[in-house]
Symmetry: C2
Subunit: 178 residues, 2 copies
């Protein structure tokens, strides 16, 4: 079956600092037209920093859309065109003060496929050495260490809602146990 | 450390059919103010339909933000206030023509914690019987069956980008193997 939708028009709704919104007109596979509301975002990266002792370095951060402090792996927004690995290395340094001997890719995720262009690239960082945290001026977070096996249990028990964190933890675990 | 941000004001930017956008003014933990761009969405559910033969029923669907046909587990948007289980049961019937003897929760995910209120509830459906697919008028998708173990490999090999699908597959796999 042909599933493709063809863009007929696009209307800019909002141009913000971190996201923009368009309302596009598309032709559906059956020839009729429909609207697609699309959030445009430059994407991000997240890193699972795994210590030699088998602990993950995680951050606790207030997330405004949920009015909730969430437990996450270190992450950040990519500058337009920025290499994901460069971005991940920077966020690891800024949020946790950590430098990794080895960073390997864990794949990507599309968080919200129906209406948002964001892509997040995941990495696993090992061989860590620690210096000083260097946060952005408007960034406030606490750093904690959690054994990987405990983090996996927390994901399975629905105690870590963030999508990239859940997925990066399970992929790390599945990768290491082969 | 106090991490809480306090809402001072909110400005409605866009009221769409599937999402709305506000630009809020917040007071940061250090007393200074900042803006938060927030996408508001009523959330969704996804279901892993697992057959007695150990296969997952999946759907291939064109996803406009990526101009790409993606392989996903059946999913849908929750009506405001709708019970996630009721929504999951309906989507399973509509997209795959399937009815389940047993549906258990796999937890929730926040796809995009930094700027979007969306929450997706995940379920595992077993004891399936099949009738007719009943798609919405503007919904076009192909249904395929993939062995769970193959789906896990595809997730680990970065061949399934959708966040809810990756996570629901890994959680199903980890749950079943104990």
């Amino acid at each position: 079956m042909n599933l493709t939708e063809k863009t007929i028009g696009t209307e800019k709704i909002f141009e913000g600092k971190i996201l923009s919104v368009t309302r596009d007109t598309v032709e559906l596979p059956n020839g009729s037209t429909a609207f697609r509301e699309v959030v445009h975002h430059s994407g991000g990266v997240c890193v699972v920093p795994l210590t030699d002792e088998g602990e993950i370095i995680m951050v606790k951060q207030f997330r405004y859309p949920f009015s909730q402090v969430l437990l996450e792996v270190p992450a950040g927004k990519r500058e337009k065109g920025e290499d994901p690995l460069v971005c991940g290395t920077r966020e690891l340094k800024e949020e946790c003060g950590a430098v990794a001997e080895k960073i390997i890719p864990l794949g990507k995720l599309y968080p919200t496929v129906a209406y948002d262009t964001e892509i997040i690239y995941m990495f696993l960082a090992t061989g860590l050495s620690f210096g000083e945290q260097k946060l952005d001026e408007d960034e406030f977070l606490d750093v904690v260490r959690i054994p990987l096996e405990d983090a996996v249990k927390m994901v399975m028990n629905d105690e870590i809602p963030d999508s990239k964190t859940q997925l990066a933890i399970l992929k790390t675990y599945n990768l290491l146990k082969g």
